[in-house]
């Protein structure tokens, strides 16, 4: 179990983008995902498509459910942002149409993410965070508001 914090990445009028940072890590999970694609000529166009899609959502309609593919279990809010004809996956927690927590991801070479230990690990991280966020929401410690999250300032999550 590792302690993690939620950090903000970008905010627009319509949407807020957040990521996770594990204690002792130099990079956030979203940074790790970007660097993976940025340093790989094959993955770079797909990375550009995904990031431009995220930016477009933030400027336009927000993080609408139909843009994302449900992953994880039925009960959680783990989703993937796939781009057609691409194997690159960015795993996210879609908390609302205006709040998205992005995690890590990578190229999906297996039929399901569960068959890939690395991708499975990213999904499990987000599932655990989702459970903890739900608990904190139920206790009233955290509130999902328009484009932001309240109450997570210095909160650490054991993931």
């Amino acid at each position: 179990m590792t302690k993690a914090t939620i950090q903000s990445v970008r905010q627009t009028e319509n949407a807020g983008l957040f990521t996770i940072c594990f204690e002792g890590d130099s990079f956030t999970e979203f940074q790790k995902f970007i660097l993976k694609g940025h340093e790989n000529a094959t993955l770079q166009p797909d990375l550009q498509k995904i990031l431009n899609a995220v930016q477009h959502m933030m400027n336009a309609m927000g993080f609408l459910e139909r843009y994302f593919r449900p992953e994880g279990k039925m009960r959680d809010r783990v989703t993937a942002l796939p781009i057609q004809s691409s194997k690159l996956r960015l795993y996210c927690l879609r908390l609302s149409d205006s709040v998205l927590i992005v995690g890590n991801g990578g190229p999906k070479a297996t039929k399901t993410y569960e068959e890939d230990p690395e991708l499975n690990g990213y999904v499990i991280q987000l599932q655990k965070l989702d459970d903890l966020l739900r608990l904190a929401e139920a206790k009233g410690e955290i509130t999902i508001e328009t484009a932001t999250l309240s109450g997570v300032d210095d909160k650490q999550f054991d993931i």
């Binding site: 914090t5 939620i6 950090q7 903000s8 990445v9 970008r10 990521t19 940072c21 990079f27 956030t28 979203f30 940074q31 970007i34 660097l35 694609g37 940025h38 166009p45 990375l47 550009q48 498509k49 990031l51 431009n52 899609a53 930016q55 477009h56 959502m57 336009a60 309609m61 139909r66 843009y67 593919r69 796939p82 781009i83 057609q84 004809s85 999250l149 997570v152 300032d153």
Partner: protein, 104 residues
């Protein structure tokens, strides 16, 4: 809450490095997706009904409205024909090229 400047800078760097054509492709695919979704809602058409009208699968329509789809002209023409609304227009009007000069 801590703001990760490094993550935002890296995010912006990738956006800045993206070729203009690819940026437009992404924007248009999401704009068309939203446009189709709005039209289906306003006409109270389900994705299943629309798929049947266009002659495709429900999964294909789900991909169209999911954004990020690389629409072919053939698909856009079918959608336009079925909905009776033109999905795309070319430029601001018809252009014809004569002896190197473009006339509007």
């Amino acid at each position: 809450m801590k703001h990760s400047n490094e993550t935002e800078q890296l995010f912006q760097q990738v956006l800045d490095e993206t070729p203009k054509a690819l940026k437009l492709q992404v924007e248009w695919s999401y704009e068309i997706a939203d446009w189709i979704d709005n039209l289906l809602r306003s006409r109270k058409l389900s994705q299943k009904e629309f798929a049947k009208m266009v002659g495709t699968s429900e999964a294909a329509v789900s991909h169209w409205v999911g954004g990020g789809h690389n629409f072919t002209l053939s698909t856009l023409a079918k959608i336009s024909a079925v909905l009776g609304v033109q999905v795309i227009s070319v430029g601001n009007g018809l252009c014809t090229k004569t002896s190197g000069n473009v006339k509007k």
